[in-house]
Symmetry: C2
Subunit: 575 residues, 2 copies
């Protein structure tokens, strides 16, 4: 395409709202366009790249025998009530009513719809396995949409659902998708890592996130360089401290004025933080958003709470819990802000981290202002409603697999695969008849790729201070020919000739024939990040042009014919 | 693809809800799937055909230099308020709120969004002309969704918007799109007719509908075989009866007991219906849905009212008018059900058809039960607030262009092109600077193709009693190989060999290797309507297979090699 005909509006300045590179660059290149907070449109170049990612996804899904379909984005509430998610899903579920008052939502995922398909279409074991997918616009009414395509309210997603006879068959489907995802993200040019993940609101047993490594990512992952363990910090299991064989000492109340934090009390009493017990206080809500009860969670003083693990231990939706108003909670449970301990607490659910019962003689709040208790022991002095691993795996903690110290990294979740098992087939009644004509639950998996988020992740990993550096596979165009002086007949002829020849060879090529200063054109070429840049300037008179890769600094003067041959070869190799 | 691996569920019976061929066949082939009333999903075969139509549309749009983008389906109310459509658009506009109570709609069209793009991106005349389009899921919350994809609440649409400097340039853009649409629908195998159309809620001056001819279509068109005039009956202009040169006779009240209809009064008074005046009574509503006032429309007794023309004459939204409750209206305006005439009516808007002022001595209701007035004359006895053509062009009426008697036909509106002019650029402030740096309004056009409705229209025109007969260009697959007996090794080998060779040649081929009775397979092949059917049966032993076009009745016994060559050639020619 000729740039003089293209709708292109690049920006020199960094848009106010944008903080991270992908957001800044996608806006500056004019590839995306904000409509309202968290809702973006795609302009010609941006949409081309989205469609290339879609095509890569489609090819790899098809290669695994998955079949593309397209279901409605608008879903009736009834199906979500059947699965139980209508109430469990938080305010991120964008709900609406039709003219008759019937309730719908704009689908964030499609488990219900796909389960509904198989429960009506699948009768026999002969119809399984089955993998259906779609590439579609999805919705999440985020409280704080941010970072452009990274966390938006409308986004393009590929979602696939597998249906199997057995859990063993599900393993095979899961592995197939895992493999397809590795291929997809490799082809997209991403540096990524599959990590074990929590299953969140989707439910199910096993899950992996595909994380594109990036400092600006919202996923934090813990990984071990020794044994390759990798998991989201939400999910990563922790190694409990070894059980103590200290003798249980008598409970002792001590005056600890003004020591509201673990640091303060440990300092004051000259204790190591590992000898203290930290309390975290929460209120929970029911499906209607009314306060339901209080929760006190206890972990060793040096640990940090893993909120996801706590939510899972309580078996409640993520949005059904918040930090408690301590004054309100005190009136009901006897807790005392800054001095809460497990002894003497009442009328609340007590959750204790899994290593606590093995530890001895900890120091905890006395539920009395300015007092702590020493030598608090689980079993003797208090009991818990739930004992579970609710702590965070921190940098340097022992790896849960091999014991080596773990590291942390940040990343962008670009894909996730789940073993759903029979969660949805059970709640919605999806069965097949086995060889003996007996009804069996269909075993499900689900698999998502954030197509538009992948676009942002690619930009995060492929840019420099001048702009984007597209991998060939997802570049909106392969080649840009910068015609330095469109008034110069020789230059125009050479540029146009190359343009036509490249087009004919099936290369996607932009010809920058705009009447702009050369500096503007070079800046735009860098900003847009087209992988191969051909500059037709004064050298054109002697048949020479300048050939440059966007990813490299060297330029070469070569003949037009050689440039064409080289561009065709390179695109063939890399696309 | 092998059918044994494909998710395919065909139905033998006609689904209850379906009345027309496309709805029945798309459901019976399992290509579409109803989610709720007016909302359908697309299963593998259906989605393949939709994507083929999309690709045809994309190619023809790109060939005209239009650029594909992708805007949000969710649109903020603010933009619709700017254009004035938030209130004018009826309950078909599917409205919703986000978690913060901000109002949005699910876009039925995108004029506001695209106008917003150009008003911010376009500064100079040098950036024009511009044509941007998208292929996207659209929404209309229909009161009575029906006929499957024909009138659904969610549908795939291509919408394009052109931006020009002048109305003359708009003519060129419009002609380009008109031409592209002719190519698109021709490639889709449709028998269609472009007809002049009303501009409806979109607004603007000129418009053509592309109508796929079909008895089940909801568009009624009037056309002339002599001069090629063609228009929707909503739009079609009428030729007024010639003005009368009769002398005006004195008004005369006559007793006409029980003659409530035109037929009755004409019979009773022995008048021709052309000598009578028919009254139609309406109530109108304001933007908040409150009653605003009454309207009495008068046409010659033998004519029918064209409601669209009336709405346009009144310059109100289509949904802001309904037939009046005569009793309620009588109290305000003095009308009398069955005996309403223009003389003596008060406190209502009087709209008179354009030919009425030229006629003389008509018989009209006397606004008095059981009485009519004879010799009612416009100007002398009454006046109107509006005089406009509000009558329907009926079969046999003179063609407004050449005077020959017109015919009627029914069709499915698969596309529409509009000259919007400056309607949106004016209301939303979209200007460009001309050569003299002066602000000028951008001149717009908009152009829609109902992609999923086109799919239905194709099926309406291409089917027989056994199923669909796909044109090659939009067939989900080109060839189906029916393997009669999968247990037979020779048959299996021949079928599989042909399958592989066709795949390798880039042919989209289905292999029916299911363990089903041959009758079931043949029935499914007919139902699915794949253009080329190759049957591998007993003849396989001697190297012969059966070759048949779905559109024809003859079968031929030919060699496998010849069948492959012929299939490849045919697909090449027709795809």
């Amino acid at each position: 395409m000729k740039l003089s005909n293209m709708h292109l509006k690049t920006l020199r300045e960094v848009p106010n709202e944008a903080e991270i590179a992908s957001h800044i660059l996608l806006l500056r290149t004019g590839m995306i366009r904000k409509l309202v907070s968290g809702v973006y449109g795609f302009m010609p170049l941006g949409w081309r790249s989205v469609r290339k990612i879609e095509e890569i996804v489609r090819q790899e899904m098809d290669a695994k025998g998955a079949q593309e379909i397209h279901m409605s984005a608008v879903q009736p509430a009834e199906l979500w009530m059947e699965s139980g998610r209508w109430f469990k899903y938080g305010p991120e579920l964008w709900r609406l009513k039709d003219r008759n008052g019937r309730e719908f939502c704009l689908g964030p995922t499609h488990e219900e719809i796909f389960t509904d398909i198989v429960r009506s279409d699948v009768n026999s074991y002969r119809q399984l396995p089955l993998n259906l997918y779609q590439i579609q616009t999805k919705y999440r009414d985020e409280a704080r949409p941010r970072f452009g395509l990274m966390r938006s309210r409308e986004f393009v997603m590929k979602d696939a659902y597998s249906f199997d006879r057995t859990f063993k068959d599900l393993d095979k489907s899961y592995d197939d998708m895992y493999d397809a995802y590795e291929k997809v993200f490799t082809r997209c040019g991403l540096n990524f890592r599959p990590v074990e993940a929590d299953t969140g609101a989707i439910g199910g047993s096993n899950s992996h996130e595909f994380t594109a490594l990036s400092e600006v990512g919202e996923s934090e992952i813990a990984y071990c360089e020794k044994c390759n363990m990798a998991a989201t910090t939400e999910k990563a299991a922790c190694v409990d401290a070894p059980a103590s064989n200290e003798k249980e000492l008598p409970l002792e109340e001590v005056h600890t004025p003004g020591t509201k934090t673990i640091e303060e009390v440990a300092d004051f009493l000259k204790l190591d933080k590992t000898q203290t017990l930290k309390a975290l206080l929460f209120v929970t809500y029911d499906d209607d958003g009314k306060e339901k009860g209080y929760v006190a969670a206890f972990i060793r003083g040096d640990r940090e709470l893993n909120r996801t693990k706590l939510v899972n231990a309580l078996n409640i939706p993520e949005h059904a819990i918040e930090f408690a108003d301590e004054a309100k909670m005190a009136a009901v449970t006897g807790c005392v802000g800054g001095f809460t301990g497990p002894v003497g607490l009442h009328d609340c659910k007590i959750v204790v981290d899994s290593e606590i019962p093995g530890l001895r003689n900890l120091c905890a709040g006395a539920c009395k202002a300015d007092y702590h208790m020493k030598n608090v022991n689980y079993g003797r002095d208090y009991n818990a409603d739930i004992v579970a691993d609710i702590k965070l795996l921190k940098v340097g903690d022992p790896c849960p697999v091999c014991g080596a110290p773990v590291k942390h990294a940040r990343g962008i979740e670009v894909g996730q695969v789940f073993k759903l098992g029979t969660k949805y087939s059970e709640s919605m009644g999806a069965y097949y008849k086995d060889e003996n004509q007996k009804d069996q639950l269909i075993v499900m998996g689900c698999y998502g790729i954030g197509v538009t988020r992948t676009l942002a992740a690619i930009v995060e990993q492929h840019h420099d201070e001048n702009g984007i550096i597209w991998p060939m596979s997802v570049a909106p165009y392969h080649v840009i020919i910068t015609l330095v002086n469109p008034e110069d007949e020789v230059q125009s002829k050479v540029a146009d000739d190359m343009y036509q020849k490249l087009l004919k060879a099936g290369i996607e090529v932009l010809l920058d024939d705009r009447k702009e200063r050369p500096g503007v054109k070079f800046k735009d070429a860098d900003l847009l990040g087209i992988p191969i840049r051909i500059t037709v300037g004064r050298g054109a008179a002697s048949g020479q042009i300048e050939y440059k890769r966007r990813s490299e600094t060297e330029k070469e003067e070569i003949s037009a014919a050689e440039a064409i041959a080289r561009a065709i070869r390179t695109v063939e190799e890399e696309k």
